[in-house]
Amino acid sequence: MNPERHAAVPDAPAPDTPRGADRPPQAGRKDVIVLDRVVKRFVMGGEELRALDAVDLRIRQNEYVAVTGASGSGKSTMMNILGCLDRPCDGRYLLNGADVTGLNQNELAEIRNREIGFIFQSFNLIPRISSLGNVMQPLLYRGVVHAERKRLATQALERVGLGARLQHMPNQLSGGQRQRVAIARALVTTPSILLADEPTGNLDSSTADQIMQLFDELHKAGQTIIVVTHEPDIAAHCHRVIQLKDGRIVQDYQNAH
């Protein structure tokens, strides 16, 4: 599969709208994510490092985006900001049209719970509770009663093909199965975006491919997905590829599918 490459050609910014990045491949769909000159600085040993350097980005509903780039290029930093785990130092972040830049930790927690499904490279399951318990957990913070949590979590686990592993503890599951539990946990709250930071980084290539096929299905079902990866064949699953270098977007193109 050879991706057809396009150079990133930014639109001329309209005076009253944020300067988003891409052309509209799916015009008419609403923006889920808009980054407006987002800056993230870290100070390390007196030296300032710009992990994100005035990033503009616009992602629409049901896009399937790969974020690539060398190690240290700022991919995780960007994902953390998109996932409301971290706050930009400068610029604005609009999520579903609402500015989340100035929200406090509790308000961000609420957004993470309702709008975002985060998938990590190291799965990040809670070790002492079963897969079902792990998937039920986010609904707890939303105030869903136990029986309903159980029903929704079971559904989510069935959706990722783990209907027969509800009571397994994380250490009784393979890496691929653990990542599926993590995906079920991300999906169970029906978030508006699914963010995955190198979700296949700890998996062998065939398992990685199965996970990506699951992402493909979720995308077909309407999910907006952003996947960080540095493997070309993972990025090839996605419809749009964004490349970061030193905290800037240096490429932004559509894959031919």
């Binding site: 971290d86 927690a109 609420e110 993470r112 985060f118 809670i126 002492r128 939303r142 946990r185």
Partner: protein, 410 residues
Amino acid sequence: MFILVESIRAALNSINAHRFRAFLTSLGIIVGVASIIALVCVIQGLSGSVTRLFQGLGTNNLAITSFTSNEKQLSGQFARLNPEDLNLIREKVGGISAITPVLISVANASSMSALSYSSKKGYSRVLGTTYTYQKLSQMVPVHGRFLTDSDNRTRRRVAVVGEEVRQKMGMPANPVGEYIEINGEWVKIVGLMEPKGDAFGVSQDDYVLLPYDTMQSLIGNQNQSDIQILLTVEDLTAAGEIRQRITRLLRASHKLEDNQEDDFKIQSPEQLLSSFSDFINAITYFTIGMVSISLLVGGIGIMNIMLVSVNERTREIGICKAIGAKRHHILLQFLLEALILCLLGGLIGILLGYGIGTAAAHAMNFPLSGVPAWAIGLAFGFVSVVGVVFGMLPAAKAANLDPIVALRYE
């Protein structure tokens, strides 16, 4: 409410996952609470049997004893009560239904006298008294009889013994007619009294009673001897008035100046009881103070382990925050975990303390009156406060963690 129930569920899960550690964590609390409860059990049981003991003495009784203040003791002046005092009261104070002197042998510090029977030797308390003592102390003979008025008048060399004396001297089941030697003098046993059992592990049946005058002639020098006076008032409501009259009479007869304090004491069982409870209360407060300190130390132990546990679970906290846990979700979970550890420790402590109390009651031979509700309430109240106070710091630390920092924690 929802959050509370769910946080309790989470806290219980987490405690259940580390049962042994949870046990070690709350060990301080368990020990603290167990000692409170054991103490309360023992004190309640003791107070109960002391109360019954004094009730057995008869509530209408008054005991008059000589009293020497510490300063007087240092200057070698010892107060005495003598037979004239007894006669004075007998003649001048009305409303008394029975009065008797009691002469206590003061041969040595423990007020025990040497006995021997056939080849056996032993010690017991030897008292000289009159037939009236039977009524005052409610004694019932099993064999033979009590002392009589004529025993006293004729200074008969007879004695009445308690069950304990019979046993330790190896006398037959019916010792009436046997002879024992007391301080080198032989007396004949005329009666064995019904046993009263133990109080605080001390037998109440370890005594030899001689007629008052017999004992006085055996001891010799009358002026040196100090007596106790036991009396029963006819009407309890008049007890206060009778006390006052006796006080005035004895002060006058002992020629005490107005500025001098009484050289005798008039005590009733209630008074003894209340001074006993003052003493018990003092011990209780002291021990509760000590135990409170140990509970605080237990609380610090819990805080310590909770801090370690927050550290260990930093990543887990990060995960929870990443999937939407707010500050109060985390705070509540850790706070409840500390609280539940304390309450479980408290519960185990109460059971353990009750067990220790029961064992102590068994060993010291007094009936257990159970753990009073206030003690259980106090224990749970205290451990709850300890749990909240010492759980707060670790819980706040957990709740304030930055999600990214927590997620990156190895």
